[in-house]
């Protein structure tokens, strides 16, 4: 295992370079002499070169190849990170986005020379409408959180257009993802939390007590981040709608119900999808994502631009603010994460209608199987009476008390066993918890191996707790000092002595 922690800067030597990457200036360029750098006034020029590393091409290739090997990833191991849907990202989708013509397409190329790209986006819009039960889709948001922004901004635009300007609050179940309240605030709303019942559904009575003329809307995901499907979703929808609010669906959990239930049918007015989850596009160690929004007719006039429509000649064209005058506007310079949209479309083409139905089924089968087997082994499910959706919550509250090992300790020990750990300490309302999401692309053997590892770790926690408490042992680093990281901020390399 590679324990070298030198940065690329420490491999640098003055004057070294990857020569083949430096453009050669033609000996006798036809550009007139006057266009040399001298035409840029000295006070606008950089006085000295930036402190970038000076390294050879082999050094770069070797350094970053070796760095990559310090990551866990789907292509190396099971990665059951709850709420993140770490399923197989088909390699073919990347090739789809790399077909000659796509990588070199300039975002502002004329529509006449963009028909292939536009048609893909148009088709994807239609597919996403179909699977969500919505009537309008805009593909431009660049991640789930930006989709949320667009959605809540549309809710705001809707109320404003109706002159219903007093609505100042978004209701959010307390199990929700952090992006939900943060988004509400970015859209100028206050946040009111709604509690859950002990079996994980929204507390309908509490909700009824919370709605009112101040209610702009409710944001929730169903199944929830507790891994259960809210059985009273129709009641929730009616309550919010009756109060004049709108319902926002956080599509992070769409994988659970793909082809099984449509958010539009549940009563949601607006939603985002995380294509980097349900549509299997890669997460890249932090991104990119893509968070298209879907709406019903109420909100269609406010969809963000650009979108793709048909032109009179049967071709495709951009829809801009001129076409959607009520649009909340533009969310990025161009068309969001276009390359991710192409991958999601390619994925949808390979799944097809039947495959789309299967996703939710097998994601759910895998989660319920793991939950059942873990329960059998004495692990505590947070919602034992409930069906799991595509993910489920277990709690180590008992073990924390009796054995002194926390969910974090167990998570770290799992890394030694070669598994990425599930999401830890989320949802916040379940103490010492794991949110486990196997996804449909994992085999039964893999699930069984993970379960065995958890069983083995609990045995270690009894017989040799130090092993668990000091995990991981076999990774490039041991547990890191987060306090030091935050106190003695070191956020950029500085040459020694600087």
């Amino acid at each position: 295992m590679n324990r070298d922690t030198r940065t690329i800067f420490e491999l640098s030597r003055p004057g070294r370079m990857a020569t083949a990457q430096v453009p050669k200036v033609p000996k006798a360029p036809k550009a007139p002499a006057a266009v040399e750098m001298a035409d840029i006034p000295v006070n606008l020029r950089r006085p000295s070169r930036p402190g970038l590393p000076e390294v050879s091409e082999l050094q770069v290739v070797r350094h970053y190849t070796n760095l990559s090997r310090k990551n866990f990833s789907i292509e190396n191991q099971f990665y059951p990170l709850g709420s993140c849907t770490m399923k197989y990202n088909p390699r073919g989708t990347h090739h789809a986005a790399a077909q000659p013509g796509f990588p070199g397409r300039h975002p502002l190329a004329p529509a006449a020379h963009s028909q292939g790209f536009l048609e893909c986006l148009f088709d994807l819009q239609e597919i996403l409408k179909d699977v969500t039960g919505m009537t309008g889709v805009s593909l431009t948001p660049m991640a789930g959180a930006q989709g949320e922004f667009a959605g809540v901004a549309m809710i705001r635009a809707y109320h404003e257009a109706r002159g219903d300007a007093a609505r100042s609050e978004i209701l959010i179940p307390n199990a929700a993802h952090g992006t939900n309240p943060a988004t509400a605030v970015m859209c100028g709303y206050g946040v009111r939390e709604v509690p859950l019942t002990p079996d994980g559904d929204v507390d309908l009575d509490a909700l009824k007590a919370s709605v009112g003329p101040q209610t702009a809307g409710l944001m929730m995901t169903n199944p929830s981040t507790c891994g259960v499907f809210d059985r009273r979703i129709e009641g929730i929808a009616a309550t919010v709608h009756d109060a004049g609010g709108l319902l926002y669906y956080d599509g992070a959990n769409l994988n659970a119900i793909l082809g099984k239930v449509k958010p539009g049918d549940m009563g949601f007015d607006v939603l985002h999808m995380n294509l980097h989850k349900t549509f299997a596009t890669p997460h890249g160690g932090g991104g990119p994502g893509s968070g298209p929004v879907g709406v019903n007719d109420k909100l269609a006039p406010y969809l963000p631009v650009p979108m793709v429509g048909r032109d009179d000649a049967g071709g495709f064209r951009w829809l801009t603010q001129q076409d959607v005058p009520g649009s909340i506007g533009r969310l990025s310079a161009f068309m969001g994460n276009a390359g991710i949209l192409l991958r999601a479309f390619a994925y949808a083409l390979m799944l097809g209608r039947e495959g789309m139905h299967r996703v939710g089924e097998f994601a759910t089968l895998n989660a319920n199987y793991m939950a059942a087997r873990l329960a059998e082994h004495g692990f505590a499910l947070a919602y034992p009476q409930r069906r799991a959706s595509h993910e489920f919550v277990i709690t180590f509250a008992e073990q924390a008390k009796t054995l002194g090992v926390s969910a974090m300790d167990i998570a770290k020990r799992l890394l030694d066993y070669g598994f990425h750990s599930p999401t830890t300490y989320f949802p916040l309302l379940v103490p010492e918890c794991f949110l486990i999401e196997p996804t449909e692309t994992e085999t039964k053997e893999e699930l069984d191996a993970f379960i065995e590892a958890l069983v083995a770790i609990l045995r270690e926690a009894e017989s040799d707790p130090e092993l668990v408490l000091s995990a991981p042992q076999s990774l490039p680093v041991k547990r890191l000092d987060d306090v030091k990281a935050a106190r003695e901020l070191d956020l950029a390399y500085r040459p020694p002595g600087e």
Partner: protein, 456 residues
């Protein structure tokens, strides 16, 4: 069942373990009246082969040979190693580095990235990316409003010469928080006039300047920055990272430097690819680090005292602070940051300067060749970098369409953005262009112009 590994025997065994009769039964908590019917629009499944053929055919339709269009997205050479490494599964298919010990690869890359971006901008700190340049500018504006302790105005002054699509994006994003955007008008020379700043009664909370500006022209950043510093106005610099190999970095503008720099990382090894994914960067002074949105990586030590990297200052972020976070951003553009970091390592200071120099030379060469055509002039004089506005003797859009039909993306017709510039094309040269490419452009432009009826 594409990508689903289950055999029939396994499904049976699993249902047995669950104690369910069928997969269907696992959905029995869902009210039956809600259950989805058929999917109508989703087509029949295609094999990978058939999918790639369809995508290949569509992609081919969009192929053009030569690109002289920039306007925020640039046709640079991307060293082969960049994506060969970036697409390794370990980078491509990892999630956000929540388990630091199992993510040192991604974490160290981002730390190196932060180091490179601060070196380029001459500012103290960088985040781990935001979505793109335009939304990054919006985040920078929100950040400036929070960060400016001396000036509590909610008015932001933005140069009219900032990329119009950036301005539209900022408007969408900051609108709901009651922030007003004022425009600092451009002069006839296509830049803003520092002298015009004094006309503003109440100083804005921040001033946004793009360098080089949308037209490729160089703004008087020293004067603008000094004025801002004198009036407790934070300066937000919008910059093209390639340009920073040659142009003065924001951290050195004026006496004290700009406060925040942002922009789009696309020129750093990211294919144009219809404009995304690329990445937005934000750098700032150390003092504002707690107002930075998005992930930040810090260097620290492990239990054995060995160097390691980890997410830090998470108390700014939505997953910890929820409604009180600096932004709602969660997923960012990490993979593109990886590509950008590898790009900058391969280029190094000399290579990036070489690229920037060639871009500038080729643009100048293109412009001086184009103005030899009858009726073609440079619309603005003044110093520039990498982009140039050509004024044609007729409307620009039909000319651009004619050149596109000949395989050349001729530049951006400006009429959609500045109606008074509807005869203008914003053109852009890069290191990819050869003498022959430029000759071809000028020949085709000449042909297009002579076949277009001049409007007097």
């Amino acid at each position: 069942m594409p990508f689903i590994p289950h055999t029939a025997a396994e499904v049976d065994a699993m249902l047995d373990a669950i104690g369910a009769e069928s997969i269907e039964q696992l959905f029995d908590e869902i009210p039956s009246q809600l259950r989805a019917g058929e999917l109508r629009t989703v087509p029949e499944a295609r094999s990978e082969m058939a999918m790639l053929r369809l995508m290949g055919e569509r992609a081919r339709k969009d192929q053009l040979q030569l690109c002289f269009l920039g306007a925020g997205c640039y046709d640079h050479h991307i060293p082969s190693a960049v994506w060969d490494i970036t697409q390794r599964g370990e980078f491509l298919t990892a999630y956000t580095p929540y388990q630091a010990e199992a993510s040192q690869g991604t974490l160290q890359v981002i730390y190196e990235y932060q180091s490179m971006m601060t070196a380029l901008t001459a500012l103290d700190v960088s985040n781990a990316s935001v979505y793109d340049g335009a939304s990054g500018l919006a985040e920078a504006v929100l950040m400036a409003v929070r960060a400016n302790r001396k000036n509590k105005s909610r008015r932001v002054l933005m140069a009219e010469t900032v990329h119009p699509l950036y301005r539209q994006t900022v408007a969408t994003i900051v609108r709901n928080q009651g922030i007003a955007l004022d425009s600092l008008p451009m002069t006839a020379s296509g830049v803003v006039d520092p002298a015009a700043l004094n006309g503003h009664a109440e100083p804005p909370v921040a001033l946004v300047v793009q360098q080089p500006n949308f037209f490729g022209l160089l703004e008087q950043v020293d004067e603008l920055t000094d004025w801002a510093a004198a009036h407790d106005v934070l300066v937000i610099a919008v910059v093209n990272p390639t340009s920073l190999a040659i142009l003065k970095p924001p951290g050195q503008w004026g006496e004290g430097g700009a406060d925040i720099a942002c922009g789009d990382g696309q020129p750093l090894g990211i294919p144009m690819a219809s404009g995304g994914p690329s990445f937005g960067f934000i750098c700032c002074r150390q003092a504002f680090v707690r107002q930075l949105p998005g992930r930040i990586i810090g260097r620290t030590e492990d239990l054995d005292g060995r160097t390691g990297f980890t997410l830090t200052l998470q108390a700014r972020e939505q997953h910890i602070r929820r409604a009180k976070a600096t932004s709602n951003i969660c997923t960012n553009q990490g993979l593109l940051v990886t590509a950008g970091t590898i790009y900058l390592s391969l280029l190094g200071p000399a290579g990036l300067e070489g690229v920037a120099g060639q871009c500038h030379r080729r643009t100048a060469q293109l412009a001086s060749a184009a103005v030899t055509l009858p009726g073609v002039t440079e619309r603005f004089a003044g110093p520039f970098f990498h982009e140039r506005v050509l004024a044609l003797p007729c409307e620009a859009e039909p000319v651009a369409e004619k050149l596109a039909a000949r395989g050349i993306l001729a530049g951006l017709p400006l009429g959609d953005y500045f109606p008074e510039l509807s005869r203008c094309l914003l053109v852009c040269g890069t290191e990819k262009h050869s003498d022959e490419d430029i000759e071809r452009y000028v020949t085709e432009l000449g042909a297009a112009l002579s076949s277009t009826e001049a409007v007097a």
